[in-house]
Subunit: 352 residues, 2 copies
Amino acid sequence: MVQTGMKKAITLRDIARETGVHVSTVSRALDARTQASLTAEVVERVRATAERMGYRPNRLASGLRTNRTMTVGLVIPDITNAVFPLIVRGIESVLEPLGYASIIVNTDNLSEREHRLVDLLQERGVDGVIHAAATRNDPKIVEMAARGIPMVTVNRSIEHSDIPAVVSDDARGVQMMLQYLYDQGHRRIAHLSGPAQSSTGQARRQAFVEAAQALGLELPQAAIVESARYEEDEGRRAALRLLDSGWPFTAILCANDRLALGAIAVLRARGLDCPADVSVTGFNDMPLLDLILPRLTTIRIQQFEVGKASAEILVRIMTETTPRIPRETVLPVFLVERDSVAPPRAASRRAC
Amino acid sequence: MVQTGMKKAITLRDIARETGVHVSTVSRALDARTQASLTAEVVERVRATAERMGYRPNRLASGLRTNRTMTVGLVIPDITNAVFPLIVRGIESVLEPLGYASIIVNTDNLSEREHRLVDLLQERGVDGVIHAAATRNDPKIVEMAARGIPMVTVNRSIEHSDIPAVVSDDARGVQMMLQYLYDQGHRRIAHLSGPAQSSTGQARRQAFVEAAQALGLELPQAAIVESARYEEDEGRRAALRLLDSGWPFTAILCANDRLALGAIAVLRARGLDCPADVSVTGFNDMPLLDLILPRLTTIRIQQFEVGKASAEILVRIMTETTPRIPRETVLPVFLVERDSVAPPRAASRRAC
DNA sequence: GAGGCTCGTGCAAACGATTGCGCAACTCTT
DNA sequence: AAGAGTTGCGCAATCGTTTGCACGAGCCTC
């Protein structure tokens, strides 16, 4: 790279030369924690010339010396998945005012990629990591935490570890939704579950089974169909399996909005209307969902708040000497009632 | 922070001690560019023990020495805006395989925030910056480029500067869409323009005016309404202004999908159907758009490709000694025909 | 008035990697 | 076989900041 015009940055040394004090004095004058040990006059003189010369600290140098880079890593599966940008902004809302920068990496749920990216973060000396990747257990992450890197997981917990987790109350969400369908008169309710290796997939499925049993609902084998990914085409595939099973369900509780959208598309293709013939519910309340017809009844998760809470916890771990952090922080969820649920038809609703 | 279990990382010195060579030899053995000056035996021995000990280079140290951090900054307005995640993934698709990490910052189009964040990037010694923030001219950014930091802008150009830009062929997109509406029989076509301070807003508006004149269309003052932001509620506000102007338009060409969605909502509220009463078109073809009814006819922009191209250019600027980069790289756009356009009604279409 | 404070500042050694330079130990040439 | 050239590696300075320690000056105390 030919940097012809590259004028080099102002350093402590430059300020020292300019003010006639030693570089260490400049350093102390610019650090709020140490400037008490200097005379107010020197502090002010240094501060003023630093300002005048446009001094910007070199974080590489200070990080090298102190092992603190004011940089954190965000490990997420895929930023194009609409729930993550909100989480990211929530995280940023607390980190950025404190001066932290975030390196965001996308794992695509590929553990090989995740390993490489975790290395990439470590090489850059991140002060902490917020981990939102979905796979359930990952030795690399546990190892990183064991190395002493402050870490928080969001939307999932790592089993057999004491890494703090921030999660939404998935179980309560599923239970609320099932109760809601029950109250509308539904008795044969299917579940399109998420991937088993994602912790949300597993948690929601288990909550579904438990809530269904608590309500005394019929729950044949065919009632639960698992998807491989949280995507529309998986929703379609799973809904087809469900339809072809022959079980006369009247509603589908989906583990995720995108699965629900896929399911509704399949129903429509088979000549079934949602909600007239089959009620369908989602989970997450992703952005723009309220513009898609039928407007999906779903469980709203506070993505931004989840991100915010996880960042607050990470900051505590990074800065407090003996933080007492709960193993799990669970945030409430809300049922948002829209148009995709109606009472079941009295007559047989299976058209074809 | 109390790092009790923090076992410190392996350094070149550790490997040197282990293999019995000097630390500089280790450094050379591990660098592909310099290992030619060593015997194959030493290189292999160093490489093997580095591998065995799990050596990870300290990028802070190497960055301090070399002024290259293998980190780039991505300046975007808001990651929750659906077009940006795709751009980010496009950028990553070229940067990540090369070993670069990305620090992503959201400016919210606030220049005060942008200044702070640009400083944050500089302090961390990023090797380059991809700048996708929307405001048209920003002295801070020009100053940064002048300082010699490699930079590329996406979706916009900086006036009076030679910073390379990657843009979509907005003008052609507008022209294609207007021609399409014309071919469907529309003659009185309104334009919901984007914010004037965004370069896309300005470019699309200008293209609209030119294309309309070329087609000999009637173009009264009221035909163009400007929005303050690319958001649904601005689309609603602008559409209301348009309706209230009394001009008997038969179609609205919107500068952006979200504006179009807002406009359609207002039409619906006024008892007008899209496309039966008024045709509406979007721009961008954002994710999930095809699920929203009526399915919006729009111009597809290759977000991923835009990101990819900008990253490729940035890499060239960062690594080549005398790169010849075109001032502007323009990527083609495509008209995607869906359901929000129909021929105009012969009769008066103004219901209320 | 001498010894022991505190207070403000300078000194120099880190942090880990890179790299120009120098110096042995070779190989080749004549 | 001696000089010249080459090859392979070590030495030490450097990047910019931080921080334990030392040191001189002033002050107080007995």
